[in-house]
């Protein structure tokens, strides 16, 4: 695979997904409304569902900016993010909560950086996956329930694999770090 030079700012890449996650997670999970209980993990899980919805939209945008081979990988990863959103949303429902719904692609799109070329798309993808890895590793410490933590751990594994694929598509190695922490 040929190396790709990244040519846009990290701030721009991270800004969209982060802002979406923050903007999407209020209102539906107020512990004072009676359910779910405060400390149940529902608030955190809802914020992750929102981030996953944003990630699905982000991967759709990334796929469009990639040539055919990498695009297939991007579509596979996008489908994995859909599945992650469903799994985490299910955990929220099991707590009696209502997970946030996804928005139309057109609402997410303005919040993403401009993906002018393959390099920009892969840079955005890397930042996105780093953020997802960190989100799930952070969640491990805060989620109170065994099944919630199992799901978070299993999805963290898949996000790290996705990050490895992005590294390969960018001309790098799948595995260069002994500790894959992600970034927030």
């Amino acid at each position: 695979m040929r190396p790709v030079q990244a040519r846009f700012t990290r701030r721009g890449a991270l800004g969209g997904a982060a802002a979406l996650a923050l903007a999407s997670c209020g209102g539906r999970d107020d512990p004072s409304s009676g359910r779910p209980q405060a400390g149940s993990g529902a608030g955190l899980l809802n914020s992750i569902v929102a981030l996953e919805h944003a990630s699905v939209a982000a991967w759709a945008a990334i796929a469009v900016a990639l040539p055919e081979g990498p695009r297939v990988q991007a579509e596979v990863i996008g489908r994995r993010e859909v599945h992650h959103a469903k799994r985490v949303a299910m955990l929220v429902r099991e707590l009696g909560g209502t997970p946030p719904e996804s928005r139309p692609q057109s609402e997410y799109q303005p919040m993403f950086p401009r993906l002018r070329d393959e390099a920009a798309a892969l840079h955005f993808a890397r930042d996105l996956e780093e953020r997802l890895v960190r989100a799930y590793l952070d969640a491990l410490r805060s989620l109170p329930d065994t099944e919630q933590r199992r799901v978070a751990a299993e999805i963290a594994v898949e996000e790290a694999q996705d990050l490895a694929v992005v590294a390969l598509l960018s001309g790098g190695s799948a595995s260069t770090q002994a500790f894959v922490t992600g970034v927030s």
């Binding site: 199992r150 751990a153 694929v165 390969l168 595995s175 002994a178 500790f179 894959v180």
Partner: protein, 164 residues
């Protein structure tokens, strides 16, 4: 001065080791971490044997071996925080002879072992009663997940398991 991921993770593991003494409630944590350590020792032994027997690409093998050594040290630090009972009594099993007969055979063996190890981490992270260790152990698990991708690439398999 920038702080590396390794320094952050090892620092977290060491902080756990300094800040927590052994308690009866953490006895099962000891067993769980011993299990993870056994897996990491197996992986370390397997990559070492593969490098010695030319059963793995040199650069990849060296990289993965170095990472497994870091993982062993990391899990050992975690074990201290839950009060490790004593030194291991048995040498780790490496790779069986048939797994070292060729690079494809070894890659297949290593992929299976990495997959088993990652599964063990997900189980332990779900149930381990040591909140301060979950993130650093998780960052070892995610490194193992990336090893899976590297090995699938060697084997010419789809990079991502098709579960979805």
């Amino acid at each position: 001065m920038s702080v590396t991921r390794r320094e952050v993770v090892v620092g977290a593991l060491a902080a756990g080791a300094l800040g927590a003494g052994p308690t009866p409630a953490r006895a099962s944590g000891n067993d769980q971490l011993e299990l993870l350590l056994a897996f990491e020792h197996r992986l370390e032994a397997a990559y070492r044997a593969a490098l010695a027997g030319d059963a793995v690409d040199l650069a990849l093998g060296r990289s993965l071996l170095a990472q497994e050594r870091e993982h062993v040290r990391g899990v050992e630090l975690a074990l201290r925080s839950v009060g490790r009972r004593g030194p291991r009594s048995s040498a780790p099993r490496g790779a069986p002879r048939e797994a070292l007969s060729g690079r494809r055979d070894f890659a297949r063996f290593a992929l299976a072992l990495e997959t088993e190890t990652v599964a063990a981490y997900t189980q332990v992270l779900a149930t381990l009663d040591a909140p301060d260790l979950l993130q650093p152990l998780g960052s070892i698990m995610t490194a193992g997940a990336q090893h899976q991708v590297a090995l699938r690439r060697l084997l010419g398999e789809p990079l991502l398991a098709r579960k979805h």
